[in-house]
């Protein structure tokens, strides 16, 4: 996503952008990674840093072409003035009169302007499910899943959708299976033999992943964070579906078969009373 933004801003093919896995021992501390904010904040920093680098190139090109900088247009991986087009390497090579010279674009973000409001966005995720309930065992089977991520703009749609699916799957684990069982201080189910996480076979046969793109985020091009919004709604979603399907209201997760079965038993007992 960061490389996509850089390619877009610099007007160069995506393949020309290299994202370097850097060593945090020698890079600056990046405060904003976390809480789904990389695209919004780091993405915005990349965008602004590209624009700052372009501004530097304009000043250089203005000198080389003897044209006022404000008459220059950044276009197709370089600067255009009338019919003359200079690519970024051409500008740098001529300006420095040496090959292999480079410049650094900078941008700093702070809590000001567009980013005055904190949090910088609300991540809104909506999910819907259809389930089957085995009334004899209490086991819940997920038949279909729909997620909606309000992401402003999906810069990388396939990745955004798969993050929503991943989040929903984590939500599914927490809602149906995952729980830490303690005996006093001792964790009793510390291995995957007894701590169940979602498997491929638990995924819904019918999955629809939808994105809302109103371009209303403070990130680049109206993007905002995504990828976590589908975690939390899955629990209440399943519990509500269970209520609709079987008439039992359970307020404790996970909805294990035994817990559902007990609730169904209690409901039957209540109904049998005159």
């Amino acid at each position: 996503v960061l490389a996509q933004i850089a390619a877009e801003e610099m007007g160069v093919p995506f393949e020309k952008v290299r994202l370097v896995g850097s060593d945090t021992a020698i890079t600056l501390f990046e405060r904003s990674t976390g809480a789904s904010r990389t695209t919004t904040l780091m993405g915005r920093a990349v965008m602004e840093a590209c624009r700052e680098a372009i501004a530097q190139c304009k000043t250089m090109a203005a000198e080389l072409l003897r044209v006022p900088a404000e008459q220059l247009i950044a276009e197709r991986g370089g600067i255009r003035s009338g019919d003359t087009h200079m690519s970024w390497p051409e500008i740098l090579n001529q300006y420095f009169q040496l090959e292999g010279c480079s410049i650094i674009g900078r941008a700093y973000l702070r809590k000001a302007g567009l980013l005055e409001q904190v949090p910088v966005f609300w991540e809104i995720g909506v999910t819907g499910v259809e389930i089957g309930v085995d009334r004899e065992t209490g086991q819940i089977q997920l038949d279909s899943l729909v997620t909606v991520g309000d992401v402003g703009l999906a810069i990388h749609p396939a990745m955004t959708e798969s993050q929503d699916l991943g989040a929903a799957t984590m939500g599914l684990g927490a809602s149906l299976f995952e729980q830490l069982i303690y005996d006093g201080q001792q964790l009793m189910n510390g291995t995957l033999l007894e701590y169940r996480v979602p498997r491929f076979s638990d995924l819904a046969p019918h999955i629809q992943l939808l994105l809302t793109e109103n371009r209303d985020g403070v990130g680049p091009y109206g993007a905002k964070g995504g990828g976590e919004g589908s975690v939390n709604p899955i629990g209440p979603c399943l519990a509500n579906a269970l209520y609709q399907a079987a008439g039992v209201r359970i307020r404790t997760l996970p909805l294990t078969p035994e817990r559902v079965w007990k609730a169904l038993q209690e409901k039957r007992a209540r109904e049998d009373q005159p």
Partner: protein, 290 residues
């Protein structure tokens, strides 16, 4: 992270040599068939062996043959081999079907039926089914060859009656006959099943009555166990037997000495036995389980 402690692997050329190795190393050697359970237990320090006897390399110990109405399955045949064996599918399709649902495909590709039975894991699917199919194991050692039925062979959780110089060589199971009906059903939430239930019926008069029955549950008790009282309740006309299913389930649950654990409360397991006995009954008779 747990790691394996050092051990030596020995590769016998024959069953006789394997048996001699067992006798030689006394309790110091484990039998290495698939290793899917053994190596995990060794990693966790639950088992400590200085020597492993690799029986997988013994020629012809993994073959599958049909002889005089019985399937003879070599001890080192993997679950996957049995699941895919055309012979097993033809002679005893239920065994192939059960094998296709053992653990996951990685375990099935490596784990062996003989290893599974010798490990005597309380959650073993094959042991429960073989018990109701009337299966037996062939054991070979210096003192000769003997056959034990599955219930004779399994002595408890992780315990068998394999003597210290014996090797399990074959699993012998009667082939299915037209009058036989059988089913294996299980309920599973975690990595291992919560309940496994096997049912075998000998039918008469187009399945309108049953002349013999075997039923066993696994996972909910230390080792898979048949229940004679429940089996008597499953003999008679279909209508009578169907009415007695709840009583049979209760008898099985009483005998299984159910306990509360991570798989569920004893009360829930008792309930599941009732549900799955009925489902097994319907499935055995080829009817929808609803």
């Amino acid at each position: 992270m747990t790691t394996l402690s050092r051990f030596d692997i020995h590769q016998p050329a024959s069953v006789r040599e394997a048996s001699q190795m067992r006798a030689h190393f006394a309790g110091q050697a484990g039998i290495y068939a698939g290793g899917t359970e053994l190596l995990l237990a060794m990693k966790h320090g639950a088992l400590r062996y200085r020597h492993l006897i690799d029986v997988k390399v013994i020629p012809d110990l993994g073959g599958i043959a049909s002889r005089d109405g019985f399937l003879e399955i070599g001890a080192t045949a993997t679950h996957r081999t049995i699941e895919r064996s055309l012979l097993v599918r033809e002679k005893l399709p239920l065994l192939a079907e059960m094998e296709s649902h053992v653990a996951n495909v990685r375990v099935r590709a490596t784990g062996t039926l003989g290893g599974n039975l010798c490990f005597s894991e309380p959650h073993s699917d094959p042991a429960t089914l073989l018990l109701v199919l009337g299966g037996a194991v062939r054991l070979e050692g210096a003192s000769g060859v003997r056959e034990l039925s599955i219930d004779q062979f399994i002595a408890g959780a992780y315990e068998t009656r394999l003597s210290p110089e014996e090797i399990l060589t074959r699993i012998v199971v009667p082939c299915s006959k037209p009058s036989h009906r059988a089913a294996y059903v299980k309920f599973q939430v975690h990595e291992r099943p919560t309940l496994g239930l096997g049912l075998w019926l000998e039918t008469h008069d187009d399945a309108r009555s049953f002349t013999a029955a075997r039923v066993a549950v696994g996972c909910v008790c230390p080792f898979p166990a048949r229940n004679a009282f429940a089996e008597r309740l499953l003999i008679g006309s279909r209508t009578e037997v169907e009415k007695r299913l709840p009583d049979a389930a209760a008898a099985i649950a009483d005998a299984a000495d159910l306990i509360d654990d991570h798989e569920g409360s004893a009360e829930y397991k008792r309930h599941l036995i009732g549900v799955f006995l009925r489902r097994a009954f319907r499935k055995a008779l080829g009817e929808p389980s609803a």
